[in-house]
Subunit: 357 residues, 2 copies
Amino acid sequence: MKKTAPKTQSITVSDVARAAKVSKATAARVLGGYGVVSDMIRADVLAAAKILDYRPNELARSMTTGRSGIIGVVVGDIENPFFSLAVRGISDAARAAGFNVILANSGERIEDEKTAVRILIGKRVDGLIVTPSESRDISHLRDIHRSGRPLALLDRGLPDLGVDTVTIDDRGSAMRATRILADAGHRNIAYVTAVEGHEYRDLAQIYTSSVRERIDGFLTVCRDAGIERPERYVRLGATSPVEAGRVADKLLSGPDRPTAILASDSVIALEIFRVIRQRGLRVSEDISLITFHNADWTSVTTPPITVIDQPVYALGKSVADLLIRRLKGETRSPERLILPTTIIERGSVGPPSNRGR
Amino acid sequence: MKKTAPKTQSITVSDVARAAKVSKATAARVLGGYGVVSDMIRADVLAAAKILDYRPNELARSMTTGRSGIIGVVVGDIENPFFSLAVRGISDAARAAGFNVILANSGERIEDEKTAVRILIGKRVDGLIVTPSESRDISHLRDIHRSGRPLALLDRGLPDLGVDTVTIDDRGSAMRATRILADAGHRNIAYVTAVEGHEYRDLAQIYTSSVRERIDGFLTVCRDAGIERPERYVRLGATSPVEAGRVADKLLSGPDRPTAILASDSVIALEIFRVIRQRGLRVSEDISLITFHNADWTSVTTPPITVIDQPVYALGKSVADLLIRRLKGETRSPERLILPTTIIERGSVGPPSNRGR
DNA sequence: ATGAAAGCGCTAACAA
DNA sequence: TTGTTAGCGCTTTCAT
């Protein structure tokens, strides 16, 4: 049966070719912008395409070229401003280089991350940028590499995997922030982070490089300052606002309440801030607070929050640039960029208080 | 030890068929999960696929089926928490129905919106969800419809376009918020919004339905309250944090400073809050403030901000559900959902002050 | 239940 | 320059 009443009849190169009275190949050359075509014929084809309202089928194009022009991005949580900003960095770099971005959310769940990667590979994305949610199970990431597609890691390193990676100076940042707290006289400093888990025992239990490095930096400075068993104040499990609130509440209700807290991201910090208030305590006077990520709201609270300012946009842009360079054929050994941070001291750090303890 | 796939060429149904000693069609039936195949042969094919590490090529699949399993989403600004949350609503609904989401940012620029739509159609997404940045130029949206793909509108209506639309009760929300301000005694109330433009003249100049409805509601209540020329306090152009800050600064530095402000989103509200502080003024005592969107930070400031709580997640989920139902073959006349909002009264509204005026 | 063969819309050799 | 033809990897008749 010939083309009688197809469902979604879209205009193809053949249709345009027929209308312009040229061969399919010639029409395709004009429409696809490759090869050589005389100006007169080009005009004819373009005119026909315009009249018919031709839209190239990128799918078919990708099938034959093997390239989709898409970069797949898998992040932990797009609602976290940290990731939103990083994604904008990626998108801007991608667009500038003529690539599109498919975004997938893993929710920091390894199974969802695997699914996302599988789908993205299925869609034949040209390359992937992933924030691996953990380092134990990275078979799906090896698969990417094996499939011949470049992979780049964002925010979290995976030493076992020789791929381009851009992170921030997690250990150094945590150290400097902790030192500010220790220098202010604090001996009971807590670190609250988003990684899955109940009780902290040791670093080997942490499978996310950034989290591990930060805890390591935190503990190192604490010990240098002569604080005993600082690990008792490491709190995991602040994986959502609700969970963060729970963790904060528990942390501040115990008999051994810390006098200072370092939060691993702004979402957690906000919940900690909220709980401190709810308990009738004051930030800075009663509890000092520093957080990773210079989120917009941190500068308008009373008091404003001292933060570790990460170059988040640059983080996204850099990793995308690295990937794109590979996509354009560059071959070189994997690069590992570590972006520096700065600390913005505001008003949330004060001397330790004994109130209520 | 698993045998690794060749790097250059990926495994196809033909490869699997050959390895399993069956025809391409049979292998495809097993691998694609359609048709009928005997259990024995199915097992053989599956085994061969596993050994060869077969990955379906979704591109090729989409080419022949005409369906990609992708929903294209074009939003104004993914960094705005309002959109992040709506997108999560969309993503959750999509995933539950077996669809994936490609996200594109228009930056509220009509040209970028058109480009995004063109690319998405090129990728043969099954349907689109768009927050149209303006109503003057909607040819690209008509094109979607013409291409046979369903379109659904998020957050902003387009009366000329008969498509599924989900918005919040913009006019009513603005009215109720304005009334709270007027009831508190305010006569000089400003409305600050993100739409492109310099000076406000009349409603006909506003091409975004949500913005227009809100301004309309705002002006109506002002006039009902006997306020003269309320339109002099309508401020456009708060399209980014920096621009919002500029607008707020100008608004608060004039001789005719308002005693109350209604902000159209939380990003703008934050900048207004910041500027109020910078000028040594106090929120509530000197300037009352209400904002659309119950952003996380609005409850922890001093004072906490009174907000219009929009069902943002539901907004995204509803529009996705509507689209998905159509994608599954449902035919019905376009639906227009208007979701109700609630006002959460906190501490940012007080009686008008004459300080410094 | 299985296989052979025809496309989907496009690009890429190769010919003319 | 332009045209012919052969696929890309998959699904889908239509036979068997």
